[in-house]
């Protein structure tokens, strides 16, 4: 048994914890220290690894790559989708493939944190890093976010419990944590009764307006029942914040029809104190894909290449192109749309030639014409990824494998086109 003194990165979620200790035995991962339950399960690997198959028959890597390339070559309007659980190297190759095949390219941010990442990349929302939060944040708001379940080490590594350079007294005295949510989540329990603001489903925009009023010294109004005294107390806490941060969860993202109420709130907060926003990206490299596509095309998602031109808009989102049956083949990498999208939307994927690249069997791979296993990034292969706060993290390989990396597979498909 060898105790490996290096620290590794967990790719179980977009927190990309970089303090993971491991013990190897016989070249295999035997123990994983420091990771949360989900990270531990992720690093140990799934119980149903993917195999190379073409039309349900087992085959070898060369044949499956050849078949994947042939499907893409024969398609007129392929969709290259997924990417949130892929290394940045594989994402860049995916963009190449979409360009070469005049395809559509989109990722999971298209139906999750896309609007927040876009606003940050366009400089419309002030942001900061998780390290800033650890060292400086004194008022932390989890809005429609439940990190206790979605990012289990978020509160202990960065946002609430740790000592930081300017927060030596930690959560007991130096930090105030607040949850704004439609239900009393595990995170809300940690924030306590005084730190929990329950709002009705889709009541977020009105609550934002009410907060702006309270911060302006006006009596807040909402169409639903609201404890006005408690809201005025909240305004007073926010005004006194030296370094505030809002962690925007999917609860907030899905509740807003547009970002205006959030922009107004952030402007108001920044006129009375200093507030930042970090989107709670779920998959480990969704933000990386957004940045990579943005660098290439000026857009973070929902793109179609057309003879060198870049088209962008809601009509190019994965949901719309599947609903409208606008694609005639699909390559899915680092995502499982059959699990994560409405059943009625993804049914069309079964009707077109489908390629899936993943370390594990997924619901989508069960319907695929071609399946190609790749190494698990962060364990079997290395690469780089972008944390939820936009910081790039190098991910090292821990064990040897004969599986190809996601980047190598995408490179080979691209070369075969």
């Amino acid at each position: 048994m060898k105790l490996d003194n290096d620290y590794y990165v967990c790719t179980g979620c977009a927190l990309l914890c970089d303090d993971i200790g491991v013990e190897l035995e016989g070249g295999k991962l035997n123990k994983v220290h420091t990771a949360c339950r989900k990270g531990f399960a992720f690093m140990k690997g799934c119980s149903n690894p993917m195999e190379c198959t073409v039309n349900g028959e087992r085959t070898d890597m060369d044949s499956s790559i050849k078949e994947a390339a042939s499907i893409l070559k024969n398609a007129e309007r392929p969709l290259i989708f997924g990417h949130a659980n892929s290394s940045s190297g594989a994402q860049k190759k995916a963009i190449d493939i979409a360009r070469k095949t005049n395809g559509f390219i989109d990722d999971t941010s298209s139906f999750c944190q896309g609007p927040m990442v876009e606003a940050i990349m366009e400089g419309k929302l002030k942001t900061c890093t998780l390290d800033d939060v650890r060292h400086k944040a004194d008022v932390i708001i989890y809005w429609g976010a439940d990190p206790a379940n979605s990012h289990p080490r978020h509160m202990s590594r960065y946002s609430y419990f740790p000592r930081g350079k300017e927060r030596q007294r930690g959560w007991e005295e130096d930090r105030t944590a607040i949850t704004i949510d439609v239900r009393k989540s595990d995170t809300a329990e940690i924030c306590g009764q005084n730190g929990f603001y329950q709002i009705p489903v889709k009541g977020d925009a009105e609550f934002m307006d009410a907060m702006v009023s309270a911060l302006s010294g006006k009596i807040p109004k909402t169409s639903y029942d609201l404890d006005k005294k408690k809201l005025l107390e909240l305004a007073s806490i926010l005004k006194k914040a030296k370094f505030g941060v809002i962690f925007a969860g999917l609860g907030m993202v899905y509740a807003l029809d547009d970002r205006e109420p959030l922009y107004k709130l952030m402007d108001k907060l920044n006129s009375v104190s200093s507030f930042h926003l970090i989107p709670m990206a779920g998959h480990y490299n969704m933000r990386g894909f957004n940045q990579n596509l943005f660098e290439e095309t000026g857009y973070i998602n929902r793109v179609k290449f057309s003879s060198g031109e870049v088209l962008h808009g809601p009509e190019y989102s994965v949901v719309e192109v599947l609903r409208q049956k606008a694609v005639d083949a699909a390559l899915v990498i680092g995502a499982d749309p059959l699990s994560s999208l409405p059943r009625s939307v993804v049914r069309y994927l079964e009707k077109i030639p489908l390629i899936v690249i993943d370390p594990c069997q997924t619901l989508t791979s069960a319907k695929a014409n071609v399946t190609i296993p790749c190494g698990l990034v962060g364990v079997e292969t290395g690469g780089s990824a972008v944390r939820m706060d936009g910081v790039e993290i190098e991910v090292k390989q821990i064990v040897d494998t004969d599986r190809l990396s996601d980047e190598e597979i995408m490179t080979r498909i691209s070369e075969a086109l």
Partner: protein, 134 residues
């Protein structure tokens, strides 16, 4: 077959709000086809008053249906302090996604976290398996 089989089960409309759960998410990482994942996913958390209204006991199965799909899941008491009759909670999963309407409205994003279903007792039928969903 008991006499109850011939009576129509009371139906109720529920607004579903979805959430995340680390135990269910970890089970998915191990295997999306596994028993643990099904056990932790095919569940709905209800207000006790809705459980009575549906004439079921905690742990019984419920049929949830709307124009997007139909699944059978296990009914549990939410245990929340604040009453929430008419609103029920489901962990985000292929079971909840079977019921999410495909219409994506102004944002282009389906309403994953907020949709309506009609619930009624499944009269002892087993929960929908993952293989039946795909």
């Amino acid at each position: 077959m008991g006499f109850g089989q011939f009576l129509s089960a009371p139906e109720t409309k529920l607004r579903i709000v979805t959430y995340r759960d680390v135990f269910q998410d970890s089970a998915k990482v191990v295997s999306i086809f596994g028993e643990d994942y099904e056990k932790l996913s095919a569940v709905i958390k209800l207000d006790p008053k809705d459980i009575s209204k549906l004439a079921i006991k905690e742990g019984d199965t419920l049929i949830l249906k709307n124009s997007s799909g139909k699944v059978i899941v296990k009914a549990l008491n939410s245990g929340y302090d604040n009453p929430h009759t008419g609103t029920a909670y489901m962990v985000n999963s292929p079971w909840s996604n079977s019921l999410v309407p495909e219409d994506s409205g102004v944002t282009g994003v389906p309403d994953f976290k907020d949709f309506e279903v009609i619930a009624s007792s499944a009269k002892g039928e087993k929960v929908t398996g993952i293989k039946e969903i795909i």
